[in-house]
Amino acid sequence: MSARDDILGTVRRSLKRGGLTAEQEAPLLARLARPQAGPIPARSAGRDRRGLVELFDSQACEVHATVARVASLADVPAAIGDYLARQNLPAEMTAAPDKLLDGIPWDRRPLLRLKRGKPDPADAVGLSAAFAGIAETGTLMLISGAHSPSTLNFLPDTHVVVLPAARLVGPLEEAWKRLRAATGAMKLAGAAMPRTVNFITGPSRSADIELTLQLGAHGPRRLHIVVVEDDAVA
């Protein structure tokens, strides 16, 4: 008997039944077809967009990310240029070949140099666009694809992420909903699911030595989030 059949057989024997009948299967199929949310913390409930920005900002700062809020896409180059200068970092970034990022008027900050594509190991600063922001915990959601290499989230020492306020949601469940809607399939199976979905809450850290917090264990030491408050940017 194959290991697979053997294991499934033992599971069924232990549960004192055979395989499920069609009748027993029906509620399970329904549960998978229409996933239901569990209890959702009130922390992020009933907030308008401004309220979500406030919550996201404070939660992200609590986990040692830094947040800059700008009015429109046109303000992004200056915000990022200033940030890099303040941190004494080179004005050089490897950027995801993303539509939102391509729409930013980078020429407003001529000294900022951008390279599009996936990062080389030595690249110091990575630039991504978030698929969603989760206000409840100050978490970014990034998904892999032709427009967004996942290694960009981990290799460079500094990660800068642009997040339109319109992409902010309250709880994690709403972020899944956005992904379900974006893929056009309620079911996230197979090709509908991106290869890698990263939920990122603050910069990399370790407490493995004497339980003392150290930032920048393997992933980025710094996570800087630029929230674009212009409602027209989606």
Binding site: A3, I7, L8, T10, V11, R12, S14, L15, K16, G19, L20, L28, R31, L32, P35, A37, G38, P39, I40, P41, A42, Q59, V63, P97, G117, K118, P121, E136, T139, S144, G145, A146, P149, S150, T151, N153, F154, L188, A189, G190, A191, M193, R195, T196, N198, F199, I200, T201, S204, R205, S206, D208, I209, E210, L211, Q214, G216, A217, H218, G219
Partner: protein, 477 residues
């Protein structure tokens, strides 16, 4: 991994007398359980979420065959492969065959308890594949050829001084005079060291905190980001997961994530929660070319439907050990195998046999703290008691203990005799212990008095005192 669980008593004894370990363990209080408490206090819905998380796991376990089949179908649909393995040996061979297929000379590894469970590192080394641990704590203990002593903080038994010594001994090409006094310097050195290993690895191996049946994905939850570099850079991503890791949907995952990080490290969310589904897609710019899930049973299917089923709800948050007085006194290594603390005391006998791990369920004060903090409401003391019963039934407990229990049972059934004897013993001990108030040495109780003092009784038994109080209360009324 080889077990030293049968030597639990000696292990524990050594641990109690180890000043370095004792200093490290003192950190558990501020480092773990106070942080957990703060995070829990900040979330009014914590208990409701805990109940919901338990219900999700109970539901999944009751239909485990069905959800595993769903997981397999959806994993395949995304281009992944599932390898079912009954035993550690089957799992080791599967991983080795995959490594060989990619001509792998090195395999980077994210944190995986299943790899420890199946003794993967030694096996790969013997077969010419170098495993490289990338989680900082795991990296440190790999250099020291030690086993993890905690499921969340594998190197918690070490202080910074020992880590610095380890790095100096291992990284001999670096300036021997470099300063390594601060954890910051140690983290930076490990980071620089491991960067190249990530880039060179042929295969990346991670564990899985969860599998999602709906999507066919595996999920890892980390703070360092090492698990991500491990899976994104090499040609293949191999996931090691045991059967009970599966949850039905992405929404179910959201519920459990809210209780996991808070219980484990006191964070609202761990830094990186990564959901991986299949290999890289044709248009993707990076990611592994192949994706394999090694699904290990190793006796878990037999636990279903037994009195131990509830341990399969465990999400490895570590709260039970962080709050356990026994773990806090002796650390994780004394338990002698992969899983320490209360959850280990229940799981280890199930995985390696009660005949090898009988001491573990006995290493409990039955204070109930583990059950009260357990994220998944697992009745750990009750399950330990079940093991004790099994051990007794199978006549595995020591003869003196069995004789003692028999004697006690004989007396307990004869109250008058019990009363007379205990009354006499209490008076005798009180008279003997009057001077110090406690005993440093007592015949027949050396196991107790070797590391503790035995308080001398006050001269009367509980039953005598009770009767007197009842009597006094009666006359006062």
């Amino acid at each position: 991994m080889l077990t030293t669980s049968p030597a639990f008593k000696d292990n524990a004894h050594r641990a109690l007398g180890d000043p370095v370990l004792q200093r490290a363990l003192a950190l558990l209080k501020t480092g773990f359980h106070e942080r957990r408490q703060r995070a829990v206090d900040r979330l009014p819905e914590f208990d409701a979420l805990r109940d919901a998380a338990k219900a999700i796991k109970d539901h999944t376990l009751a239909h485990l065959d069905w959800y595993l089949e769903r997981f397999e179908v959806n994993c395949r649909a995304a281009g992944g492969q599932v390898h079912w393995c009954r035993t550690p040996e089957e799992a080791r061979q599967t991983v080795l065959a995959l490594c060989r297929r990619f001509n792998a000379r090195t395999a980077t590894k994210g944190k995986t308890m299943i790899a420890e469970e199946i003794g993967l590192n030694e096996f790969l080394e013997e077969n010419g594949v170098e495993p490289v641990e990338t989680d900082l704590g795991e990296y440190i203990i790999q250099l020291r050829h030690e086993a993890p002593s905690h499921i969340i903080a594998p190197a918690i038994h070490l202080t910074r001084t020992e880590v610095a010594e380890t790095f100096r001994a291992a990284h001999t090409d670096l300036d021997p005079a470099r300063p390594l006094d601060e954890p910051r310097a140690l983290v930076a050195e490990a980071r620089a060291r491991l960067r190249q290993r990530f880039l060179d690895a042929d295969v990346g191996i991670t564990g899985a905190n969860f599998l999602i049946a709906e999507t066919g994905s595996s999920v890892i939850v980390t703070n360092e980001g090492n698990g991500d570099l491990t899976q994104l850079l090499p040609k293949a991503h191999i996931v090691l997961a045991s059967l009970e890791k599966v949850v039905p949907t992405a929404e179910d995952l959201a519920v459990i994530l809210r209780v996991l990080a808070r219980s484990a490290t006191g964070q609202d969310m761990s830094v990186y929660t990564t959901v991986s589904t299949g290999p890289k897609r044709p248009s993707d710019l990076d990611g592994p070319g192949e994706y394999h899930v090694v699904l290990l049973d190793n006796g878990r299917s037999e636990l279903l439907g037994s009195e131990f089923q509830e341990i399969l709800r465990c999400i490895r948050c570590g709260a039970c050990m962080n709050n356990c007085p026994v773990y806090g006194a002796i650390g994780g290594h004394a338990y002698g195998w992969v899983y320490p603390g209360p959850m280990g005391a229940v799981l280890t006998p199930a995985l390696i046999g009660i005949e090898h791990a009988g001491h573990l369920p006995n290493a409990s004060t039955f204070c109930g703290k583990c059950e009260s903090v357990c994220t998944m409401h697992i009745p750990l003391p009750k399950l330990m008691r079940h093991w004790r019963e099994r051990e007794y039934e199978r006549k595995l407990s020591p003869r003196t203990m069995r004789a003692g229990l028999k004697l006690w049972a004989f007396l307990a059934k004869r109250p008058a005799l019990y009363h007379a004897l205990t009354g006499f013993a209490a008076k005798l001990l009180a008279a003997l212990g009057r001077r110090h108030g406690s005993f440093y040495n007592l015949p027949l109780a050396g196991g107790w008095t070797a590391t503790r003092e035995m308080p001398a009784p006050q001269g009367k038994t509980f039953r005598e005192q009770w009767r007197e109080r009842q009597h006094n209360a009666g006359t006062a009324r």
